[in-house]
């Protein structure tokens, strides 16, 4: 398969086969795909039924938007826009922005010229890099010159890279026209409310028209701009995703209204993220004890919005300058210092060939899951269980339990398997994994799952997981996640049927603390 794939030049300018590239990419990530014939992919459906094919075409390779593309394609963010024009109660810009997911790690601020060079260097090394975003710290549209200069520089050399911005929306209406000229087709707006009464508890102030506005006036102006900005994007055919931060007691119920409001104005995806708050973040919410939602509360809200529109559940609240597949950070390879000394050669054709090959694989493997799905028994149609999966990407169970920085969560039912979210655990195991006292926190993070699928696991954590009622499963090592999940679910149902196990609802799980929320 795919042995025809075109050459992908790296700094050394040597054409490589698809297999070599996959191997190289895999090595970067600390795993090997050799012995699998270089075949490293997975897939699910072609396109959601309720989505316009033109939109699906735009989103399917976007790792932030498409549920399946995030296994295969990578995005990067550059932090060129540190200023912001509003204040959110979940953000403390005294230290670093909201988009920072690891306290203490300061995003590297770049000039547009440095950022453009970094983008080309990364894209030449990682052919899956298809999306460039400008996110926090700060708001890209509060720094229009820096943001647009960066896009202009990148578009000159790398026209195949898609551009996107994440904004709070305040300055959006005045920049929509300019955005559309730069051929930017992805915009994310963070919308936490459609009622200023609610908004005043989230935004203490905004800066607009040379004045600081507070309280309900601030929330009203922000709300109006967000709605107008969204409508203007829709009119121009620019894709728009909405992010919302779920803040229990403040906007949790209200987000159902937000969901309706943004859907009716043409947003194609709504991503509800949990508030992450702790006193050490120094945010208003961190200091006043405002809690974030539990995993169950978050899922219940996402479920209640599900029928309304496409929900995005795989957002990892990534760092502003993160590089790589979602959830996997390769920033250390691309520091400003290293990039300055790189001789970047941008190979547009090679990148196109690589991306075409990945797409082919993705479609070819959809069949694997479909075949398993065929004979699921209808009599258990109301049994639903969650499983956690340790994966490094490519849709396979290919991560060691002890090395997993996050788990992907799938919901299994007779309908098949459905990706429902991520649980990060990296903060829990900084002291080196396998230490006894870190295990309970990992278990709490996946406590609502009946099983955890891993490529490998040690005897000790295995016993602890079993004691906690979580089945450690390593027999599907390196196989496709969804296919294995359905196989497992069939066995699970068979055991329930024979009385070997009793199906019961699991408890709730923790959402990791220690991260800020993306703007």
């Amino acid at each position: 398969m795919n042995s025809h794939a075109g050459g992908v030049s790296t700094g050394a300018d040597r054409p490589k086969s698809m297999e070599e590239v996959m191997q190289q990419v895999a090595e970067h990530k600390g795993c090997g795909t050799s012995g699998e014939g270089g075949k490293a992919s997975c897939g699910s459906s072609g396109g959601p039924e309720d989505m316009d094919p033109a939109i699906w075409e735009k989103v399917k390779n976007h790792p932030c938007y498409s549920e399946e593309a995030h296994h295969h394609f990578a995005r990067m963010h550059v932090a060129v826009a540190p200023a912001c024009n509003i204040q959110c109660n979940y953000c403390n810009r005294k230290y670093d922005c909201a988009n920072e997911s690891r306290p203490g790690v300061v995003s590297e601020k770049l000039t547009p010229e440095q950022a453009a060079k970094k983008v080309l260097a990364v894209a030449s090394t990682i052919p899956q890099m298809t999306v460039l975003g400008i996110a926090g710290p700060g708001d890209p549209l509060a720094n229009p010159e820096k943001t647009f200069r960066t896009f202009e520089l990148v578009a000159q050399t790398a026209p195949d890279i898609k551009l996107c911005v994440s904004t709070n929306g305040l300055a959006l209406p005045e920049h929509v026209e300019r955005l559309s000229q730069y051929n930017i087709d992805h915009v994310t707006i963070t919308i936490n409310m459609v009622d200023p009464e609610v908004g005043q508890h989230i935004y203490p102030w905004i800066f607009w028209k040379n004045k600081r506005w507070k309280g309900i006036d601030a929330a009203r102006i922000l709300h109006e701009h967000q709605m107008r900005g969204l409508e203007m994007l829709t009119e121009r055919g620019i894709l728009c995703k909405v992010n919302s931060v779920m803040i229990p007691g403040i906007n949790d119920q209200h987000l159902v209204e937000v969901n309706k409001a943004v859907k009716s104005r043409g947003a194609f995806l709504h991503n509800i993220m949990p508030l992450i708050s702790a006193p050490e973040h120094g945010t208003v919410f961190g200091l006043n004890g405002q809690r974030g939602p539990t995993a169950q509360e978050l899922k219940a809200l996402q479920d209640s919005c599900e029928g309304e529109m496409n929900m995005m559940r795989h957002c990892r609240q990534c760092r502003a300058d993160a590089v790589g597949l979602l959830g996997e950070d390769r920033s250390a390879e691309f520091t400003t210092e290293k990039i300055e000394s790189m001789d970047v050669h941008y190979d547009l054709e090679g990148r196109k060939a690589y991306q075409a090959a990945v797409e082919q694989e993705r479609q070819a493997t959809v069949a694997a899951k479909q075949a398993e799905l065929a004979d699921l028994e209808a009599e258990f149609s109301d049994v639903k269980v969650l499983i956690a999966v340790a994966t490094k990407g490519h849709g396979r169970i290919n991560e060691h339990f002890g090395h997993a920085q996050e788990f992907q969560i799938y919901e299994l039912s007779t309908e098949g398997s459905k990706f429902v979210g991520h649980r990060r655990v990296d903060l829990y195991c900084q002291g080196g994994f396998g230490e006894e006292d870190t295990l309970p926190t990992v278990i709490r993070a996946i406590n609502d799952c009946v099983a955890v699928f891993v490529a490998k696991i040690g005897g000790c954590p295995k016993d602890s997981l079993k004691a906690a009622g979580i089945d450690p499963v390593d027999k599907y090592a390196h196989e496709f996640i969804e296919q294995s999940a359905v196989k497992y679910f069939k066995e699970y149902l068979a055991k329930v049927k024979s009385g070997e196990i009793v199906h019961a609802a699991r408890g709730d799980a923790d959402i990791r603390q220690g991260a800020y929320i993306a703007a």
Binding site: N85, Y95, P137, F207
Partner: protein, 73 residues
């Protein structure tokens, strides 16, 4: 008087720089500073000092008492 930026508080977010009607704010050694001889406290331009209004950290853009009060020409 002019305004000054309390260096230890400044996050170098750069928000104030483009808002100043007098181009009085510049980046210097990783933080931002106000040139007191250029600052008019925004008098004649805006009701509120812009640097104060946009700065995300309270009490960072403050009156510098070592300068006499600005008097509009």
């Amino acid at each position: 008087m002019a305004f000054k930026i309390v260096t230890s508080q400044c996050t170098a977010c750069s928000a104030c720089e483009p808002e100043c009607p007098n181009n009085a704010i510049r980046e210097k050694d990783g933080t931002f500073v106000i040139k007191p001889e250029k600052c008019t406290e925004c008098i004649g331009y805006f009701d509120d000092p812009q640097c104060v209004a946009v700065c995300p950290v309270d009490d960072t853009c403050v009156i510098d008492n070592s300068y006499p009060r600005y008097v509009a020409a």
